[in-house]
């Protein structure tokens, strides 16, 4: 079974802090994604990566950056956390093998910025 893990289930940070959210997948997937999920807005794509050191902006990249130094690990960075970044953050991975592309999700990190 594909396993996607995220470093924390719950996180509380102060405004202005630098925040790192880590995601690790164990299936050698090429593609990795970071989403945020807010009530009534569904999942919105922040950034994705299709290879090591390669990244592309999603729909809402402002205030975030990412890092992918190894294939299995994709990090989301909030350079200076703000209260409007309080949300559920979901990481996902996928592979183009067999043209499937279905995404496998981690359990999520609920981030509260005070």
């Amino acid at each position: 079974d594909v396993k996607v893990t995220q470093s924390s289930r719950y996180l509380v940070k102060r405004t202005g802090e630098k925040v790192f959210l880590e995601c690790v997948q164990d299936m050698d997937h090429e593609n990795m994604f970071w989403y945020r999920q807010d009530p009534g807005l569904g999942l919105r794509l922040i950034y994705f990566s299709y290879d090591v050191k390669m990244k592309e902006k999603g729909d809402i990249p402002e205030g975030y950056s990412v890092s992918r130094e190894k294939k299995e690990r994709f990090s989301l960075i909030l350079e200076s956390a703000s209260t409007n970044q309080t949300s559920m953050y979901l990481c996902a991975s996928s592979t183009p093998f067999a043209g499937a592309y279905e995404q496998y999700f981690g359990p999520g990190t609920r981030l509260t910025v005070t």
Binding site: N31, F33, G40, G42, L45, T95, P96, Y101, Q103
Partner: protein, 116 residues
């Protein structure tokens, strides 16, 4: 702008009822449509639909795509309390260059609550 819209946004039913969840899309370069179920944690994959009119089925759940109407429905028959979840619809697009790296555009989700 690519858009995926789900309806209703929330639904409350009793065990044994049948429900139909809707997903419509306005996108360029459609490739496939996916349904996910999200309980307390990670969304889990249900179906991927690429061809119009072909029903996908798994137990009491089924789904079908209508490319002419730019929509899909997810049916759940004989609902159980364990079906209570957020149901997410997502569309995969092709980039102009023919690849999308599996990027998905999600709808808002439908919150289904099944009472005993």
């Amino acid at each position: 702008e690519d858009k995926v819209v789900q309806s209703p946004l929330s639904l409350v039913v009793h065990e044994g009822d049948t429900v139909t969840l809707n997903c419509s899309y306005e996108v360029t370069n459609f490739r496939s449509l996916l349904w996910y179920k999200q309980e307390k944690k990670a969304p889990t994959f249900l179906f991927m639909l690429t061809s119009s009119g072909i029903e996908k089925k798994s137990g009491r759940l089924s789904s079908i795509l209508d490319k002419k109407e730019l929509s899909s429905i997810l049916n759940i028959t004989a609902t159980q309390t364990g079906d209570s979840a957020i149901y997410l619809c997502a569309v995969r697009l092709n980039n102009a260059g023919g690849t999308s790296y599996g990027k998905l555009t999600f709808g808002q989700g439908t919150i289904l609550t099944v009472h005993p």
